[in-house]
């Protein structure tokens, strides 16, 4: 479903070249729950941005659902983000002046769906995250955990190929983090692929597979050995 072959990303200024990712080879299959770990500055966010088609790269190929996204136009990348990827951010990134319903509606609007279909999807997504009764509330009227659940509802409403979660529990206390993690696991159990960047070892361990990034280089570790690696890290 997601395959990177020799992907490299270099940030250039007049004086410095920074290799954010070096020759990444990676294959993530449909239905997997993958955690991405690594120290700060190792390239996790760059990896997530490339996987989410938010940034372009210089070398290698990135196949998403069988199609190479390298060299695609900005409009085409927008279409891919809209139709195939659901984003969950650490800081939720909800639009504060829109009710929950309208927040979840944003990606569906850009897909050009009919009002009826959008309404059905939004209601279903908010029901999935347990906030159907509060769809007319503003994000500021919710707790952090609830806001993140709205962000998850927004990410899954479009029925994407996979979810990209960037430290989804980073701004939450442990109880809320637990609830959010359970929600993600529940979504994954229904077949949605999830790629989650996290600093939390315990959460990383709950994924099927762990990808570690050090200094721009990716180590892909299967679940069986992932726990040992994380434990010894």
């Amino acid at each position: 479903m997601l395959r990177m072959e020799n992907v490299s990303k270099i940030y250039r200024t007049d004086l410095v070249e920074t290799h954010a990712l070096r020759k990444v080879d990676l294959h993530i299959k449909s239905g997997e729950f993958v955690s991405v770990t690594g120290p700060s500055g190792s390239g996790k966010t760059t990896f997530l941005n490339l996987a989410g088609a938010l940034e372009t790269f210089e070398e290698g190929d990135y196949f998403l659902d069988g199609h190479n996204v390298k060299g695609l136009s900005d409009d085409k990348l927008s279409e891919i983000r809209n139709q195939k990827i659901g984003f969950i951010f650490q800081s939720f990134n909800l639009l504060p002046d829109l009710p929950l319903f309208d927040n979840v509606d944003v990606p569906l609007r850009y897909r050009g769906m009919s009002a009826k279909e959008r309404k059905e999807r939004i209601e279903h997504a908010l029901e999935t995250v347990g906030l159907a009764s509060r769809m007319q509330h503003l994000p500021t009227q919710l707790s952090g955990g609830q806001q993140q659940r709205v962000a998850i509802a927004r990410a899954i409403a479009g029925d994407p190929l996979f979810l990209l979660a960037d430290e989804p529990t980073g701004n939450l206390d442990s109880l809320m983090a637990q609830q959010v993690m359970e929600l993600l696991e529940d979504i994954n159990s229904k077949g949605t692929t999830i790629i989650m960047v996290t600093h939390d070892d315990q959460l990383a361990r709950r994924a099927h597979r762990n990808i570690q990034i050090f200094d721009g280089q990716v180590s892909d570790i299967e679940k069986s050995v992932a726990d040992d690696v994380i434990r010894s890290a």
Partner: protein, 452 residues
């Protein structure tokens, strides 16, 4: 998608009302002044008889004495003498119309005792005036050639005077008295919009005369010629005698006091011109036209271009208003940039969630069009008051010797200018928004989504 973008545009306008208001004010102020000046320029640049102005010519023949100074421009050349006028009127050429006029004055009275006598001016002309210059008639008609030749006491009056003297009723058949002469009204003009009262070369005023009298009647009854005219040194005593309202001596003088016009189709222009030159040569043989033979046939377009081009005040003011508008637009660019860049996180999120660049551009263009529209409306209101102010200055600067009706057309907004202002407002606002929208659309989405 359009309705969603429109909804977002409206929401965004309300989000930061102070910045929105500032942008609208910046555009409206610049546009208001710009439209004020452009309206004055447009209105004063309007060519009367636009459908045939290139074929309507003012005739000037240089009959001055040898010692007279050279003229700096043909627009400064003298008018025509009365004897030349009569001679030229005899030279008929098929398809060519000729008319002439001068101005007279007198005390006007009507039978209604409630109406006080007025000191008034009138245009003295021939029957071709009405066919050439096409004033619109409300009642009746102009006089015909036979009436003119018989020296009949008839008059055509303006709608303004018809309203004033006869309460707006059809006054054809009724009489007015100028000095001691009773003249029968045969026509009432409808409102006649002339941007420039070109026919007597007083281009600075817009309102035509209120009375039109046949020249034959005026000459037979010794109606005086109003205002100054060119008389050569040898004729100075004649000019002085004229000022005692004695036209008799003037008839055969070399004083140029008649404004002569010809409507000449393009294909006959060369022949007509040659005919005038031949006439001048034949008169020269009789001892007239002592200087090198110089004559001008200047069409209305060229005359107005000269008058317009010499309006230094309007030209300078135009440049200043355009510069001021440009500064206001630069200001609007700054405000829009600040307003839009505060939205970069939201836009980055929308881009991440699938909004294409063109969708973001459309959303912001709609917002800018609404701003431009509101700026246009406010700008038109400002320009309305600006024009009122400019008219007040015009009246004040003339010590109120000019009446509002004389200059009103120069300071009036019309639908063309309103449409022009709207379009200018919207287009300029769009242009002003290109850089802010471009900056906003090129913010890398990923750079904004990680931050708190």
């Amino acid at each position: 998608m359009f309705s969603y973008n429109f909804h977002l545009a409206l929401k965004s306008l309300k989000e930061r009302p102070a910045l929105t208001l500032l942008t609208i004010l910046a555009i409206a102020t610049g546009l208001g002044l710009y439209t004020t000046v452009k309206t004055m320029s447009y209105q004063s640049g309007q060519v009367p008889l636009a459908h045939k102005s290139k074929n309507v010519f003012l005739l000037q023949m240089d009959n001055r004495e040898v010692t007279a100074d050279a003229v700096e421009h043909q627009a400064r050349m003298v008018d025509t003498t009365y004897k030349d006028t009569l001679n030229l009127m005899q030279m008929e050429m098929p398809g060519v119309k000729q008319t002439f006029n001068w101005s007279t004055y007198g005390i006007l009275n009507v039978e209604d005792e409630n109406i006080n006598p007025l000191r008034t001016f009138a245009a003295v002309t021939n029957s071709a005036f009405f066919t050439m210059f096409e004033p619109p008639f409300l009642h009746g008609n102009g006089w015909d050639k036979a009436t003119e030749e018989s020296g009949e006491a008839v008059i055509v009056i303006s709608k303004l005077m018809n309203d004033k003297l006869f309460g707006g009723r059809n006054s054809v058949g009724e009489s007015v008295r100028i000095n001691t002469h009773v003249l029968k009204i045969i026509g009432v003009l409808d409102t006649w919009h002339l941007t420039h009262k070109f026919y007597d070369r007083s281009f600075s005023r817009a309102r035509p005369d209120n009375f039109f009298i046949p020249y034959s009647f005026a000459m037979q009854n010794g109606l005086p010629r109003r205002a100054g005219f060119d008389c050569w040194a040898a004729n100075a005593d004649i000019a002085r005698s004229f000022r005692t309202e004695n036209t008799e001596r003037l008839i055969n003088s070399e004083c140029a006091w008649v404004t002569f016009w010809a409507e000449v189709p393009e294909e006959k222009f060369a022949d007509y011109r040659q005919q005038i030159i031949s006439y001048m040569e034949s008169e020269r043989a009789l001892g007239r036209f002592p200087r090198e033979l110089v004559m001008y046939l200047t069409n209305l377009n060229d005359q107005l271009a000269y008058v317009h081009g010499r309006n230094q005040f309007l030209n300078t003011f135009s440049v200043l208003a355009t510069l001021f508008f440009a500064v206001c637009l630069l200001n609007a660019v700054g405000i829009l940039l600040a307003k839009f860049m505060r939205r970069k996180k939201e836009v980055s999120l929308r881009r991440a969630l699938g909004a294409k660049k063109k969708t973001i551009i459309m959303q912001h263009l709609l917002e800018v069009i609404i701003i431009g529209f509101l700026g246009g409306v406010l700008g038109i209101v400002i320009s309305y008051f600006g024009l009122q102010g400019m008219m007040s200055i015009r009246l004040y600067s003339s010590d109120y010797t000019v009446r509002v009706e004389d200059v009103l057309p120069y300071f009036q907004l019309n639908w063309t200018m309103i449409g022009h202002a709207f379009l200018t407002g919207i287009i300029c606002t769009i242009v002003a928004s290109i850089y802010p929208i471009w900056r906003l659309c090129n913010v890398p989405p990923a750079s904004q989504l990680k931050s708190q």
